[in-house]
Symmetry: C2
Subunit: 363 residues, 2 copies
C-alpha cells in the first residue's frame, strides 16, 4: 500500500515502517502477536541489540523466552508508528516531492492511519490473522482501532490503560504542551535543525506529560516535599525540591531521544482519537463492527485514562455480546502502572492468550 | 514595620500595600474581616470603582451590603499581597537601592511574608483583633498563617479549598509553568520591558494552571470533544476543539492583566508553603500555637487541593481541641468552586461569622 492513504485526505509516499520481531512464526501462521507502543515508544520492545546495550527493549519484563508474552510460543511483532522519530516515516523524514524534511508540512496523521500502516506491514509479513494486538495508553488506542477496522485480521485484542476517546482534559494538556514548544524560539515553527532542537520547550512539554503519568500518591511517597541535597530552601528559582530535580532529569533525558515535530504529530493523533467515529459517535454501534474477544485492563490510580473510561468500552462490548474480560488492577503507580505492574498484568495477558490460542486449536 | 523582614533573611524597604475596605469599622473595632486573595487576585474584592466598570470586584457575589459577608455589619479589608503586580510592592517595583525595577532581584517571598505585611497594615489601621480572616486557595494559606502566627490578633479563621502544605504534584505543575515562561525568549530572565512581556510563555503557564482549576467533569460537560465553529477536524495544529479555544482565550486574557515576574514569585511562595514548619514539621504541634476557631471548607471535585488535605488540617485542629466546623461541599466545579459555589459557601460563612460575633458579645 504505497502511497498510504490518510484520514486527512492526503497520502504518504515511500512509507518506511521500522519493526522488530521475536520468536518464530509457526507453520499455520497463527501465533503472531502485535505489540503497539505508546507516545514515545519504538519498535525495540524486548531483548538487547548488542551485549553493550545499557537497557533492553521497553517491555522486556513482559516479553521474551519464558516470559508472560512468551516468545518460545508466540511470534511477537512491534512496529514503530508512522509520525514517530524512531525509524518509521515521520515529520523529519525527507519529503520525496521536495527532497527536504517535511517538518510541519508532514500530513496530520491519526491513530487509524498508524494502524493502516501496521496492517500493510502484517500483510507484507504474510500474516492473515493475528492472534492478538496488545498495547497500553496510545498503544491501546491502536488496539481498539485494529479490532474495529480489521476484525477479520485479529482473534483477540488487549487494550490497556486507555479509552475510547481522548478526554477534553487530555486534549487541554496536549495543547499546553505544544504551546510550550512553540514558545521556544528554537522551534522555528518546526523548521529547527537537528543540532539546535527546541530542547527547553520540548523538555517542558515532557515534564508536563510526566506529571500526568504519575499518581498523586506515587509523587507523595516517592518525593513528598523532600529537598534535593540541601537542608533548607535556597530562596531562588533553581530546584529546591526532589520532585523538581526529578522532572528536570526526565525532561533532559527525553529531549536526547525524542523529536519536537514528532511530539506535535503524535499528540495531535491522540487528540483526534475517537473510536466512536466509526459509527457516527455511537460507541455501541462501533463495537458491532467487530467480533474480537477483549481483555480490557485499567489501573485504579490512573487519572489520565481513568477506569470509568475502560468501563464505558466494556459496556459497549457487552451490549454486542462480545467475549470480554475486564480488570481494574489496584495500583498506586498512576498511568505508568501499565509499564510497572508487570507481574499481575503479565499473568492476566499470559492466561488470556493461552486460553484464546487453545480455543483456536479446538475450532 | 519598614523595612519588612522576610523569611529569606533579606528585608524589603519602602513597602507599599494596596488595600480596599468596605463597610464601617465599629466603635469597638471588633467587626473587621480580612479577605485574603488567591494567586492572581487583587485588593478590589467587591463593588465598582466607577459606574463604567465592566465587572465588580472578584468576590462581589459574596461581599457587599446585605450579602453573605455583609458590609452593613462588617468592616471588610482586602489587601493585595506583596510580590503581586496589582499595586503592592512586587518584583516590578523600583528597588530604592538601585532606582531600577527589582525584576528577579526581588527577594523570594513566602506566604508568611505576605501575612507579615498584612499584619503591618492591620496595625496601621488601628485594629487589635480581626473578627476573621477569610480566603480560598493561596488565600486559605494566608488564613492559616494568620491563625498560627498572630493568634492573639484574630478570633476565627476560614480557610477554603486549601491545604497545610503544597503537594509535590502542585510543586511540579508550578515548575513546568515557570519552565514555559523561561522558554519564552521575551522573558529575558525577568528583565523584559513592559511593552514586550513574555506573553506566550505566561499564557502557556496560565493555561496549564487553568486546567488544574477545573474538574474533569466540568470540562467534559462544558466542552466535551466539541469542535469550535467547525464540522470536522482541520488536520492542523491550530485549535479544532472548543476546549483549546477556551484555553487560548484564558491565556490571552491573563497576560493582559498579569505579570510574569510576579507569577514567578507568587508560585514560588506557594511551593514553599508548609504550615507545619512552625513546629518542625509537626502539624498537630503547629495548631497548639493558636486558639482561633475555624471553619474549614473543601470541594468534592477539587483535585488541586483535595478534601483529604483539608481533613488533615481538621484532624490536627481537633487534636488541639480547637473549635472547628468542617464541610466538604459537593460540587462539580473543581478548585474554581470556591469562587462559583457562592450560595452554599456564603450561607456557611455568614452563619459562622454571626455565631462568632454573637459569642464575642456575650463574653
Amino acid at each position: 500500500m504505497d502511497p498510504l492513504p490518510l484520514d486527512c485526505g492526503r497520502a504518504l509516499k515511500d512509507v518506511n515502517i521500522r519493526y522488530e520481531t521475536a520468536g518464530t512464526l509457526n507453520a499455520e501462521r497463527s501465533n503472531a502477536v502485535l505489540i503497539t507502543h505508546a507516545l514515545s515508544g519504538d519498535a525495540h520492545v524486548c531483548g538487547y541489540h548488542t551485549p553493550e546495550d545499557r537497557k533492553p527493549g521497553w517491555w522486556d519484563a513482559m516479553i521474551g523466552p519464558g516470559k508472560y508474552i512468551d516468545t518460545d510460543k508466540y511470534f511477537v511483532i512491534c512496529s514503530n508508528i508512522i509520525g514517530s522519530c524512531s525509524g518509521s516515516t515521520g515529520p523529519r523524514s525527507i519529503d520525496p516531492d521536495t527532497g527536504k524534511p517535511y517538518n510541519l508540512n508532514f500530513p496530520v496523521i491519526t491513530v487509524r492511519d498508524m494502524v493502516r500502516a501496521q496492517k500493510a506491514l502484517i500483510d507484507h509479513l504474510g500474516i492473515k490473522k493475528l492472534l492478538s494486538v496488545v498495547g497500553g495508553s496510545m498503544g491501546g488506542m491502536q488496539v481498539l482501532e485494529w479490532a474495529v477496522e480489521y476484525p477479520e485480521s485479529i482473534d483477540c485484542a488487549i487494550p490497556i490503560a486507555t479509552a475510547g476517546q481522548f478526554s477534553p482534559q487530555n486534549i487541554a494538556f496536549d495543547w499546553v504542551a505544544r504551546e510550550a514548544i512553540k514558545a521556544d524560539p528554537a522551534f522555528k515553527n518546526g523548521d529547527y535543525s537537528t543540532d539546535e532542537p527546541p530542547s527547553r520547550g520540548l523538555g517542558a512539554a515532557r515534564m508536563l506529560a510526566h506529571i500526568t503519568y504519575l499518581s498523586e500518591e506515587t509523587m507523595s511517597r516517592k518525593f513528598g516535599r523532600n529537598l534535593q541535597n540541601k537542608e533548607s530552601y535556597d530562596y531562588d528559582f533553581n530546584y529546591d525540591f526532589a520532585v523538581e530535580s526529578y522532572l528536570e532529569h526526565q525532561g533532559k533525558r527525553f529531549v536526547e531521544r525524542f523529536d519536537a515535530d514528532s511530539y506535535f504529530y503524535i499528540t495531535r493523533a491522540t487528540d483526534y482519537f475517537d473510536l466512536s467515529a466509526h459509527a457516527d459517535g455511537d460507541l455501541i454501534k462501533t463495537f458491532a463492527l467487530t467480533n474480537a474477544a477483549f481483555l480490557v485492563v485499567s489501573f485504579s490510580s490512573d487519572w489520565l485514562f481513568p477506569t470509568w473510561q475502560s468501563k464505558r468500552l466494556v459496556e459497549a462490548m457487552l451490549k454486542n455480546k462480545l467475549p470480554v474480560s475486564f480488570c481494574e488492577i489496584q495500583s498506586s503507580y498512576g498511568h505508568d502502572a501499565f509499564l510497572l505492574e508487570v507481574d499481575i498484568l503479565g499473568r492476566m495477558i499470559r492466561d488470556f492468550l493461552r486460553h484464546r490460542q487453545e480455543g483456536l486449536k479446538h475450532v
